[in-house]
């Protein structure tokens, strides 16, 4: 156990630092890692994502043709450290590079894999169609149906809370292909071109004011058979895979975001002259301890991952960082009430509901703890 990385890692950091100094746009520096886009993916963010890709700094562990430089795990960690320290996001929308790319690389055909570079670079914007009105936490209850008809599927049904749907060219769509009651055993995943006739996208305004997700209706939407990812009725495996990708690598972005918002909370407390208040100081420090502790926990998880390829700590981190994010925002507004800080609180629920609710995370942690299935 030691605090600092070796010389080689520091060389890697310096190289990245030089790149960031030269190329990071002003809008990105200090912006923080949060994905919220509030009304579209700005041009600077698209260009930045492409620049990172072109220089092999978007997903360092990938080979150059996929926006990386074959970096080791430790180098990847250093990469995230440096971005987090500078508050620089890689991209403002993650489905393409964080979910679609790894899923296609693992389960896709050769033809499908050709979609990967553009998905990572952000040239094609992807959305993920999983949730439905009747299937949220219980994903296996989804009903959007795809019927195989010769060389194509015909899709009918509805998705909801589909982030970025209105700006997406492509969708990774989860559909029922088995019997109505086939649950997890009857789900398949399709690649859907969002310009296909029969798709109706209705943006949903969020409580915080932005419009980042939509409900999406499908009426006799035709999808070529070769757009099936993996095997027929085997989509659950792809689901689990894609969620795992999301959980495995992102913790430093989450803790980096916490650093950022905590700093802002302190600034807000200073602004309203509350920084000398003993109660405020006590409560701020309780949160500071959590932020630092979660970062340390992430590193502990990284060590288990390096050692065994599995990191039970990661299950804790999604829950902990999103819940803490919410409490930091609440405290900020309590100390320094303002329209912005109030809105900020509303926005934080995205983290504790999206990507599996906090309760579902606790259920998963209970499994990790070896507890029997719950009632």
């Amino acid at each position: 156990m030691h605090l600092a990385w070796g010389e080689e890692e520091e060389r890697f950091r310096a190289e990245l630092g030089a790149f960031l100094d030269a190329h990071a746009p002003a809008e990105a520096i200090g912006r923080g890692m949060e994905p919220e886009t509030h009304g579209g993916i700005p041009l600077w963010a698209r260009e930045w994502q492409a620049t990172l890709f072109d220089h092999g700094w978007l997903i360092p562990s990938y080979p150059p043709e996929l926006g990386g430089r074959n970096a080791t795990d430790v180098q990847t960690l250093v990469y995230f450290e440096e971005l987090a320290a500078r508050g620089i996001p890689r991209a403002l929308h993650f489905p393409g590079h964080a979910i679609v790319a790894p899923s296609l690389l693992e389960f896709g055909t050769d033809a499908q894999r050709e979609l990967v570079p553009a998905a990572i670079r952000g040239d094609t914007v992807w959305c993920i169609g999983m949730s439905e009105p009747g299937a949220g936490s219980d994903l296996a209850a989804m009903r959007t149906r795809a019927t195989l008809d010769g060389d194509h599927f015909v899709v009918n049904g509805q998705k909801v809370w589909t982030s970025y749907a209105m700006w997406s060219q492509m969708c990774m769509l989860y559909v029922r292909t088995g019997d109505t009651d086939s649950k997890a055993r009857g789900i398949s995943v399709l690649i859907l071109d969002m310009t296909t006739p029969g798709i109706d996208i209705r943006p949903l305004r969020q409580s915080a004011g932005g419009t980042d997700f939509a409900e999406v209706f499908f009426t006799d939407v035709v999808v070529p058979k070769e757009n099936l990812i993996g095997e027929m009725n085997d989509g659950w495996r792809v689901t689990m895979g894609s969620l795992a990708h999301e959980r495995a690598g992102l913790w430093l972005e989450w803790t980096g975001a916490l650093d950022h918002v905590f700093r802002r909370t302190v600034d807000e407390a200073r602004r309203v002259g509350a920084l000398e208040d003993e109660v405020v100081r006590y409560r701020l420090m309780a949160l500071y301890e959590e932020v630092g502790g979660l970062r340390a926990l992430g590193y502990k998880g990284f060590a288990s991952y390096e050692k065994s390829g599995a990191a039970p700590e990661h299950a804790l981190l999604k829950l902990a960082t999103s819940e803490l994010r919410k409490r930091i925002a609440q405290l900020t507004n309590e100390i320094a009430p303002s329209p912005e800080n109030r809105r900020e609180v509303l926005g934080t629920f995205a983290g504790t509901i999206g990507g599996g609710t906090s309760e579902i995370q606790r259920n998963a942690i209970a499994r990790v703890l070896g507890l029997p299935r719950g009632y």
Binding site: E290, G293, A296, I365, A366
Partner: protein
């Protein structure tokens, strides 16, 4: 930051774990309250590991975590966790060397805000006493007054220097407490006690986890009830976060990194918070058996309470941390 344990560190941890499993059953802890000499054999065995005082904080912590999980009574922990760094800081080199060789034991008495009440003072040869004016006096001539025993495995005492005939009296600093001018000793002691407390917490958590998997009500294990599962998930989070904070601080100390000034406060405060919360949940999830004298839980809970109070309360640590973190233009990480 690399949390990977080296093979030597794993061996150290496993050795400590095996040693206390064999030589420190709960029955010994209970017997100690009546007659502290029952732990003499254990203390002798542990003295072979006294050399940890001269090594990295991380190693010391790994070993002490195991001591905490078994509620090891007697002078070993106070000696290596608190006494050793303080004699090192005041430059009482001969005493430090005999401690490191496992030949001498000692404890520490220090007033608020970084209180230590000569834990296991009745079983040691030396005491480091913070005397009037904040100087520290290392002596084998001292007088003890027992305090009311709450933690059965670790009685506490008021201690004062016996007479002018002080053995190897060493003084440091000119005012304040132990922390003054010798923060390194205080940091090491704080993180060492925090690591021990983490072990105590681990026992409470694991024991509870085991219990809810076996205890049945309504025809099923109580651990299948989601109301308990979610609380256990939160307990595991608190425990893991505290564990990580403690070792982070230990690494910062070993690297003599600036981060240590903040990390020790985070470590103590987080370890205390996890201990307090998990102790309460552990008792609740045990039901009636959890409030009996016969069940070992209360032994652990008592230790958890006392460890939270020593070397600075949570309020004190947070106040100090706030001074460091919130100063104008101060660093937040």
């Amino acid at each position: 930051m690399d949390f990977t344990l080296s093979p030597d560190q794993e061996l150290l941890r496993d050795t400590g774990r095996a040693l206390v499993r064999e030589h420190c059953p709960a029955s010994l802890v209970r017997a100690y309250a009546e007659d502290p000499s029952v732990a003499d054999d254990l203390t002798a065995r542990l003295s072979e590991f006294a050399g940890l005082v001269a090594g990295p904080a991380v190693d010391l912590c790994l070993f002490l975590e195991e001591m905490g999980a078994a509620l090891v009574p007697g002078p070993f922990v106070p000696t290596v966790a608190a006494f050793a760094p303080i004699v090192a800081a005041v430059g009482a080199n001969d005493v430090f060397e005999s401690v490191a060789a496992g030949e001498a034991t000692g404890t520490v008495w220090s007033p608020s805000p970084v209180e230590l009440h000569a834990p296991a003072g009745d079983r040691v040869e030396f005491v480091a006493i913070a005397v009037e004016g904040g100087d520290i006096c290392v002596t084998d001539q001292f007088e003890l007054a027992p305090l009311e025993v709450f933690d059965l495995s670790r009685p506490q005492f008021d201690a004062k220097v016996f007479d002018a005939k002080v053995f190897d009296a060493k003084v440091t600093g000119d005012s304040g407490t132990i922390g003054h001018g010798s923060y390194a000793a205080l940091y090491r002691a704080t993180v060492a006690f925090s690591a021990e407390l983490i072990g105590t917490t681990r026992w409470m958590f694991e024991t509870t986890l085991e219990y809810v998997k076996t205890r049945e009500q309504f025809g099923r294990p109580i651990g299948s009830f989601q109301a308990l599962q979610h609380r256990l998930a939160d307990m595991s989070l608190l425990y893991e976060r505290a564990w990580s904070s403690v070792y982070w601080a230990a690494m910062a100390i070993d690297a003599d990194d600036d981060e240590q000034h903040r990390a020790v406060h985070v470590a103590k405060s987080s370890a205390s918070e996890a201990a307090r919360h998990i102790a309460g949940e552990a008792v609740q999830m045990h039901g009636g058996i959890g409030v009996t004298w016969d069940h070992d839980l209360h032994l652990y809970m008592r230790r958890a309470f006392m460890s939270e109070e020593v070397l600075g309360t949570t309020a004190w640590h947070r106040a100090r941390l706030a001074d460091l973190v919130l100063q104008e233009g101060g660093q937040h990480e």
